[in-house]
């Protein structure tokens, strides 16, 4: 870029850079500094590795890490798989497609908190519709969806899958609709069944979209907070259903331990960085064009 071009570009970029510096990079740097603080409060700084030592020995932190990995490993692929199925059905209907697309997209634009209240009610042990349904239909014993430490995890995962469907379906239907219909005509002439056409033409052609959803899905899953906190709330810790961000949140707002929260945040940042790099590498390997 020429010098003049650079000068001009920097003026356009400056507002965004300032905002990012103030709200992203300064806090990020600060968090890294604080994570090496021996004391809980930022007012009293003493360089040390003590917080990290505490963190890796904390059972609660290990549980949070395990839950977050489990959540990510299940929610992302399962949600994408279900979304592919629903999206493929959506694009195969001609009439009312927009109507159904809207219906599937509504959960995305509703507040997680409001939706979580409804789900908390559905999963209520004694009065919840889910138990009522399972009990009456399959004569299952009552499941303590939100309070059993062995179950609460999975309740959060089910909710997380449901929450992320809307966005995935929207992106996937758009991706599928953008495939040139000529390829399907060619496939028909070439004697391909609908299933063959889907597996050998649609899926490879939308693979960049799927790779994108995996990246975004994993990053979002790692940062999951609303889904847990609104569904199970403070209890999440006692039923071992908390995730990394819940752990960080509690460290700040309950323990008032800024150093601990910072150290956990740095761990989260590192994990997300590694995942992003990995998924970028994967999607560069699965580039079907070229």
């Amino acid at each position: 870029m020429s010098n003049a071009g650079f000068k001009q570009a920097i003026w356009y970029l400056l507002p965004a850079l300032v905002v990012m510096a103030v709200f992203t990079y300064y806090p990020l740097g600060n968090a890294i500094v604080q994570s090496f603080n021996r004391n809980r409060s930022p007012d009293n700084y003493e360089l040390s590795l003590k917080t990290y030592e505490y963190l890796i020995n904390d059972r609660d932190f290990k549980v949070a890490l395990r839950n977050t990995f489990l959540y990510t490993a299940v929610v992302t692929p399962v949600s994408i798989a279900i979304s592919i199925l629903i999206a493929s059905m959506l694009v195969s209907i001609q009439r009312l497609r927009t109507f159904f697309q809207t219906i599937f997209f509504i959960p995305y634009v509703t507040s997680a908190v409001a939706v979580a209240f409804t789900w908390a009610f559905l999963f209520n042990t004694d009065r919840g519709l889910v138990n009522l349904f399972l009990g009456n239909l399959f004569h299952l014993p009552k499941i303590r969806w939100l309070t059993d430490p062995n179950v609460a995890n999975y309740t959060v995962i089910i909710f997380g899958i449901w929450r992320s469907l809307a966005f995935n379906i929207l992106i996937l239907t758009t991706g599928m609709l953008s495939v040139d219909p000529q390829y399907y005509k060619a496939a028909q002439v070439d004697g391909a069944s609908a299933t063959t056409a889907f597996v050998r033409i649609t899926l490879p052609l939308i693979s960049p979209v799927i790779a994108y959803l995996f990246t975004i899905g994993m990053i979002n899953a790692f940062k999951v907070f609303n889904e847990v906190y609104t569904l199970i709330g403070n209890l999440s810790r006692s039923v071992s259903a908390h995730t990394l961000v819940v752990y960080i949140f509690d460290a700040v707002w309950r323990a008032r331990d800024y150093s601990l929260a910072s150290a956990a945040s740095v761990v989260l940042l590192l994990v997300v960085l590694v995942l992003t790099a990995f998924s970028r590498w994967v999607s560069s390997k699965t580039n079907f064009y070229g």
Binding site: Q182, Y183, A186, Q188, G191, T196
Partner: protein
């Protein structure tokens, strides 16, 4: 395999007016003999692609029936018709390399792996792309993509090959060589082929038979030379041939044909207004003498173009009409020269005026 269409009709909802319809193909009946190459020729939007899609089973019919040989295939699924199709934009699968593209129909037909390999090499050799098998379509030139599309269509040894304007994306030279190649492949394999084009020269040069369509109708069917010499109406006459046939206003009066004040000889047709057609090579030029030649029309040379073997003239006739003339190179006239032109025998056509006949049929060739 012989293909026959009986009263095939396809309608589409009109994109502008909600409750109106476009009749893309209107009661088309035709017969394509086995082993022939037939061109479907017509202006843009006349229903060529739709007809082809209907034959392929990609477009359901509103009326009519389609037969392959003796079999009624009207309701047979496209996946089961077993025909080869080359699409206008090739529609090569972008994520598969050339080999995978060509094997795709064979894999769907559950061929043995070794048989597929063999067949891919065989068709690749026919269309001369043996060295490109590992490339993706995006790494091929237009002409190479087109040959891959033909190879894919030929792979499963289909009895019928349909080509939808396969040469429209190629440059003039490549167009010429690939159409020869298509003709050669068609001749060696003996596959019944329908070739859609809106380029009349292309149609004339490679086909056994030409079908001319307009507005969803078939206007004329026949050997290319036959249609060139005996066009059914004014539309076909001007559509076929390049440069196009010259059309002049004519008048039948007192048993003679008149162009303005010039008599062009005796014609025994009812009196009235007609259109007089003459192809560029049907004009003979003479130097302008003191006394005008009988049956000749004075003209001035506007422009001369030398095309190697022949000369292409733009003339203005005394009546004010511009005409094109092609002559051998030995009788040259200069620009602005005043000459006379004669209309050659049996190269003159008379067409009805719209007022008498909406189709403007050919009245007489003389």
């Amino acid at each position: 395999m012989r293909i026959s269409l009986e009263h095939v009709t396809v309608r589409f909802p009109d994109r502008q007016a909600a409750n109106k319809e476009v009749i893309a193909v209107d009661h088309v009946s035709l017969e394509i003999p086995a082993g022939k190459l037939v061109c479907l020729l017509g202006p843009s939007g006349c229903g060529k692609s739709t007809t082809l899609y209907a034959i392929a089973g990609l477009q359901p019919l509103d009326e009519g029936r389609i037969f392959f040989g003796e079999n009624d295939v009207t309701t047979l699924d496209a996946t089961k018709r077993g025909i080869g199709f080359v699409f206008q934009n090739y529609a090569l699968y972008p994520h598969m390399n050339v080999r995978e593209n060509i094997s795709f129909p064979l894999r769907n037909a559950k061929w043995q792996r070794s048989a597929i390999q063999e067949r891919v090499l065989e068709v690749a050799r026919i269309v001369q792309i043996g060295n490109l098998l590992d490339r993706k379509p995006s790494q091929l030139s237009g002409g190479q993509q087109q040959r891959v599309a033909i190879a894919r269509a030929l792979a499963k040894n289909p009895p019928i090959l349909l080509l939808d304007e396969p040469l429209s994306n190629l440059d003039a030279k490549l167009r010429h060589s690939t159409r020869e190649e298509i003709r050669r492949i068609q001749k060696t394999t003996g596959i019944t082929t329908i070739f859609v084009t809106h380029d009349q020269e292309e149609a004339m040069s490679i086909s056994d038979e030409v079908i001319i369509m307009r507005d969803g109708h078939i206007l004329q069917t026949g050997r290319p030379q036959g249609i060139y010499e005996e066009p059914r109406d004014l539309f076909v006459a001007t559509f076929i041939g390049s440069p196009a046939m010259n059309i002049l206003p004519g008048r039948l009066q007192e048993g003679e044909l008149w162009y303005g004040e010039y008599s062009l000889g005796e014609v025994s047709l009812p009196e009235g207004v007609v259109w007089l057609g003459v192809r560029p090579e049907g004009l003979t030029p003479h130097p302008r003498g003191e006394v005008p030649t009988m049956g000749a029309i004075p003209a001035s040379v506007i422009h001369v173009e030398l095309l190697g073997r022949e000369a292409l003239y733009q003339l203005r006739l005394a009546g004010g009409d511009g005409v094109t003339m092609i002559t051998a190179i030995d009788t040259l006239f200069r620009e602005d020269e005043e000459i006379e032109v004669q209309l050659q025998m049996m190269k003159r056509y008379l067409f009805a005026d719209v007022a008498q006949d909406a189709e403007q049929k050919l009245l007489l060739r003389f």
